[in-house]
Amino acid sequence: MTVTLYPCRKIITMNRARPHATHVAVRDGMILGAGTLEELSGWGDPVIDDRFADKVLMPGLIEGHCHLLEGALWTKCYTGFFDRMDPDGVVHGGCKDIEAVIARLSAALEKNPEGPLSGWGLDPIYFGNVRVTRADLDRVSDSVPIGIMHASGHIMNFNTPALEAAGLLKPGLNHPGIPLGDDGLPTGELKGPDVMTPAGVHVGFGRDMLASDAAGMRAFGKLCVRAGVTTATDLAARLDENAVQTMLRVMGEPNYPARIVCHRFHHGVTPEDLIAQVEDLRDRSTDMCRMGRIKVIMDGSIQGFSARVRAPGYYNGAPNGLWYITPEHLETILREAFARDLQVHTHTNGDEATQLLIETMTTILSDRPAADHRLTVQHCQLADQAQLARLSKLGACVNFFANHHYYWGDEHYRLTVGPERAERMNAARTALDLGLTVGLHSDAPITPLAPLFTAWAAETRITASGRVQGAHECISRAEALWAITMGAAYTLKIEQEVGSIEAGKRADFAVLDADPETADDLRDIGVWGTVQGGRIFEAAAL
């Protein structure tokens, strides 16, 4: 078996015993060690591969909360406000106003005049919050159905032909998710999955909006390479038999570049069936496709005012959000999962949802302790110090939605929770000080898959308008880099296999053009590509 030795400009190992090295030795997809040339020469005659001689290596980055859907969305037209790179490395410029959106869509329609035309990433918040209407989209086409998903994933805009196809262009509609214009007809904005999904099928969005097909999975793999990611998650999957077989097949392809950890969401099955299915999936996992984990969705989103928040509630007076699970079912699922050592991640946005989770865990773990259950509280955006202290004692991990500071931080300050709570959102400093393991995430496709950006967001807490929001919750560069490697690995219970560059772990590396420990700005660091299980993936050669 060949020993390959990679000399590098610098290797950041995340191994506290040996934080930096110049060389890493790899055999059969496994790291033999990181150290000096001399130290590693004992492994036998190596092949020296010096392609990384001027690169900086980090452990392969781990995105602890994203969705494979990010890959599938790129078959649709990107209309977001921010520049974004597609799986082929093409950067799509942000659409800075509605005219830019219309021009982008018109160009897409020219390529596929038959339609229907679907787009994504729209964020009118940045257009001075003017609402986009069907009249706007009718300027792209008044005959081909068009539908555009907003960046939040909670709203879609349609043109007149699409509304007609969905049978919604009629007066007398009375639905909270369908705003009406002065003419009594829908404006073209549809809010919430209940109304978006049935209309979305007429513009090329699938019924299972979170699902990805095989092509989307492959595209997602490319995005991982471009972001330096070697392990990612599909954090809310239905995982029906068809999807499972597709995932096992695609991720088993010899050149699939990322390990995918998937979580079965709790919707649509009884708690008992959920547990049984996930136990079965655990047994069918492979190195590249890790199943057998549960995602419980407790509440909605803060910017959609559907998260469950404690008093004093939403800053703009909106009524409290929605529960997506009963406390009884939450308790049943956690109890059964803990008893079977099945890991649970919870979508827990608002602080009332966090509180219910804390109390439910306290009840269960008082009855029957569960060694190292490592329940991971995803988003956990509004948790305060007292809640984080209790989560720490309960053995939970947290994975914060750090990108929110940048993308919606100003909205949280101005509208959703107000200045005081906006400044404590995603309290990474507090959590680390309490001894919690912290992950940081993008929730791609909600925000782009790019852990170095996400680390920057937690380090600086800078909003889109340039304010630092809650400086007391900033974490250090080193802590942020730890969070997107070892921290995320720990939340997924794979920290003994990946997350650091040290003997015995998988040869998963992020290959960087610059040094993330000393760079002025983490966002500026170029990603050359990755090494995953010893296989080399150069972004420019994808």
Partner: protein, 275 residues
Amino acid sequence: MTLPLTVLGGYLGSGKTTLVNRLLRAADGERIAVLVNDFGELAVDADLIEAEDGDIISLAGGCVCCSYGDDLMTALLQIRDMDPAPDKIVLEASGIAMPGAIGASVGLVPGIALSSIVVLADAVNLPKLLANSYLTDTIERQLAAADLIVITKGDLASADVARDLIARAAQGRPVVDGAEASNNLILAQRSARPMPEPHGAFHHTKLLSCEEPVDIEEIAKGLAGDPTVVRAKGCVLSRTGERTLLQLSGDNWTLSPAPSEAALGVVVIAVPDAS
């Protein structure tokens, strides 16, 4: 032709599944399609089952059950397009769902029209649920969306306590006891139901189900003589078979011919019984 759909809402354990079973058993030739979140506890008598095909169970007499899991809309379209079409659809909402939101959404599906929203409240658990701060507003929102509230398990706990709580959480919504929840009553059109009558004093709003011909004068006198009854209004069938509108306020009552589409039943607004 549009298919009428009744939403059955109510928190976990409120008796929705029991009611669904009862509706199916009493279908009496009417082809009811029931959509349930999952087959979980839906114990359909084995001898009723004619065929099972994945998410659909066909029952004797033309009724079907369909589990919708996490994709209600697909299941709904499947039911709508069945041949032969069902006469009515009953949609059992999940225990945490907002029946009002579901009702608004299903009404958008071409070929389906919301018939009404019926929410179940379980007399045993309602006080506990409303006192649970995590759930108070959820339960209140569920109840307030109802065209008709059915109190279940009234034999196991005081239905009057539940009536008091409902009078506060969902003012003026007509309430009926589970024992009276016939197919006709549950599956009636909301347009044929009495409108909710808001009132300031947390009065009880009962629905007297009157499916059989009655002596109207006797009923009216009974209500007028009941010191707790404030107002009453509704449609009853006279001994001679005429649909008659009864309107009562305090001791005064009038009778007049009722519109033909009016559902049978009288809404009675009463002060809570001091005893």
